[in-house]
Symmetry: C2
């Protein structure tokens, strides 16, 4: 007898939790599709040679390699296996776009909702297998900054519908940051990265400690320069006009600096034109995103009531998606939602309701002789688009109702001798704890209306 | 520069193909949910010790093992890696049900739509990564044969909605087959398996060659016994009454024989009560399913016009799902659709239409000054549940229409100076090649109606 258990570092859910999680993925997908993004799925495994072109260090050490039994037996010690598992959806996207470049229409809007794999050290809230839900717009040769403004509109649609409280999309621009640092005399990109990394410790180490490092031997800024930098990164806007005013107040600087401001201004105006409420987007000049990858607009999304969760949706603009695979210049802008971690964190915070099933109706069995009639009723409900379970085995009614209750099924349909004689069925609403009768021919329509009303009043699963 | 390419043996699709494939998966999922099946997802990797308990031979040689960079470096030669990829969804289901046994309600109806991995020899139409779409009902201690009848009802719902032509669900029962072979004096299960394997070659080798083998040294049946066996496995019914009559004509036999007949009779009657048209189910006493796993009802599903595709949905009844993991007896019945292979075969047969996009409307850009109004229109369409792409970059209208046409987008919405002045928008229906005007306030409603009409006349994607 083997103890049944999952490998460490994975999130496996019980059915009602899976329904809630699936509802989250469906909401994300629906909104991605609403904005005209096209689905892409790539294989979980890629050729190592293709996947691991330039990623070095941290990521590469976390890659999972794949070997069939035969390959394992034939493997030479120390050799890199032929196949590896994707660790994100960006490298597969680059490979996909470069491989199918001539069959795709640009700008290419794609979404991809799949799991990725990282050989992380197992710890609470860290997963080795997790969903990423990505969208990217890829241009050929060039891509207007207008596309940068579409992504906050998508984020707004997704998180409004996820219904997990108010949120703020933070915007910044790497050109602006770069230009600002050039103004401080830090022109070397590597030193800029180090500087940003230092400034990123503001919350953790406090302003004084960071200021000391900035004016120390490593960076050698003057006290005034350090002060200007710390003031700069602490700029946050509140409302649309304030954002524009704060950009105006930055004045003029290097070409990159001015371009960053111009791009941010255009993105802010368009984000408003896309209908995103102004309470939901703001400038935050400390946002840099870890990756050196980003070159223009960068995004983070924070839940207002749960800042400790960190960014729930991040991304930005990059200049060249697939330089390893093609000579074509493919600039893009994208965002990613780490759905597994987000779900886990929302559940920890008590923000996920798992009380309702995807099953909407249970047809009880009061009497074995009426099983065919019950099957017929269930067929009518299903034809009307209602998810319906039938009790096929005879059990006490109390047990059947208990099952519906525990399973989160809202309606129980009952057909006994007496109901059949009168051409009606009895319906028990498990949520309202009410029972009513309805003519057989009206059953599907009546329940359809009830279910749609519950959905319209916020998703039925949030009651 | 690395050549961008996928590993051999995977199916990666272009966006319009992916939309068609995704539509197929959505249809399968929707119908599984319609019958009250609950979603389960399991991690792609399992502990090797748990996954590979008893599967030997063929399957084990095809397993992919997973090692992180660190594990690879530390691996001892010849040792089995700790992690392996699932090769089907049945072993993970067994592990899942045994692991969560006390948190699940039985009978447990679950569906699972995920990819599985097999280190197959790469060849056309054979995949190393492919989707399986499984449903199973698992009982605790016992499970009524009635559940066996629910699965043909699900198959009927799925394949009706997939709209790929008429199909027939073939039914048989392993007890009946076992009982029949006992009647021929073949009581040893291993010899029965060999016998079935021989009989399975009927189509390939022809009746005479098989008859010779059956009466030869290996099996030693008399000519009369071989004749009875060949007659038996060639029994097919045509219509419900004929199926019942053919069962009646089999007479009496061993206990297993009689029980098999009784089960088939009950299943057939209930399949009819579930509303499956009698043209869509039939007895076929040659169906055995390769696995020794099945113990009662077995199913295969054939497309009437494409028998050469083979079974597109198979399964059956088993006595003990999780004997390796728990002492509880967990009988079940299940079916599986190999969606990747099915999609590929249907596409080869020209049965998949990939002309329509998930994007329903494109808002063209006639004039940069009106971009905010275009964004507002798009917002209204999206709020009405219409998937809408906006042209954000100024291009010639001809180019924009060409894009909509190639991308399979049906409606193009245009707002110029003149339309704006009159409070209307112009709509071009790319499918009908018609253009009409509609009041701005009526746009979303009008297109919603058009789109729903197209859907109601068979899925819009099948036009």
């Amino acid at each position: 007898m083997i103890k049944p258990r999952t490998a460490p570092g994975v999130l496996e859910l019980l059915p009602l939790d899976q329904i809630a999680f699936q509802g989250m993925l469906d909401t994300i997908r629906r909104n991605y599709e609403r904005f005209g993004f096209l689905p892409v799925e790539t294989p979980v495994m890629e050729l190592s040679e293709v996947l691991l072109t330039k990623t070095g260090g941290e990521t590469e050490r976390q890659v999972y390699f794949l070997q069939s039994t035969g390959a394992l037996a034939a493997a030479e010690p120390g050799a890199t296996p032929e196949l590896a598992m994707r660790f994100d959806l960006t490298v597969p996207l680059a490979r996909y776009v470069a491989e199918h470049e001539h069959q795709l229409a640009f700008p290419f809007r794609r979404y991809q909702i799949q799991r990725v794999y990282r050989g992380e050290r197992a710890q609470r809230g860290r997963f080795r297998e997790f969903y990423q839900c990505d969208i990217d717009v890829i241009g050929k040769d060039s891509l207007s900054v207008r596309f940068d403004a579409e992504l906050p509109a998508v984020i707004n649609a997704v998180f409004s519908e996820l219904d997990i409280g108010e949120f703020t999309i933070w915007l910044n621009n790497r050109k602006l940051m770069r230009g600002f640092m050039e103004g401080l005399g830090v022109a070397d990109p590597e030193r800029q990265t180090l500087l940003l990394r230092e400034v990123d410790k503001l919350d953790k180490r406090g302003a004084e400690a960071v200021r000391e490092t900035l004016t120390g031997a490593d960076f050698g800024l003057s006290a005034a320069e350090a002060g200007r930098l710390l003031d700069f990164v602490q700029i946050r806007s509140s409302g649309h006009d304030d954002a524009i005013a704060k950009l105006d107040a930055l004045g003029q600087g290097s070409e990159a600096f001015n371009q960053g401001i111009a791009e941010l201004r255009e993105v802010l105006e368009l984000v408003r034109a896309f209908g995103v409420p102004e309470s939901r987007y703001a400038l935050n000049l400390s946002i840099a995103r870890g990756l050196d990858y980003y070159t223009g607009t960068v995004f983070e999304t924070l839940l207002d009531a749960y800042p400790q969760i960190g960014s729930v949706c991040s991304g930005g603009r990059y200049e060249d998606l697939a330089g390893n695979y093609t000579r074509s210049k493919l600039p893009g802008v994208g965002i990613s939602i780490g759905a597994t971690r987000l779900y886990w964190q929302l559940r920890e915070a008590g923000l996920i309701d798992t009380a309702s099933s995807s099953v909407e109706v249970m047809v009880a069995q009061l009497d074995e002789a009426r099983l065919p009639q019950c099957l017929e009723l269930a067929g009518l409900l299903r034809t009307a688009g209602i998810n319906t379970e039938v009790q096929l085995e005879p059990k006490k009614l109390g047990k059947q109702l208990q099952h519906a209750d525990r399973a989160g099924i809202r309606f129980v349909v009952m057909l006994g001798e007496e109901e059949e004689a009168r051409g009606v069925v009895a319906v028990k609403d498990m949520r309202k704890q009410e029972q009513f009768e309805v003519a057989r021919g009206e059953l599907a329509k009546t329940l359809r209306v009830e279910i749609e009303q519950a959905r319209a009043m916020g998703d039925a699963r949030h009651d």
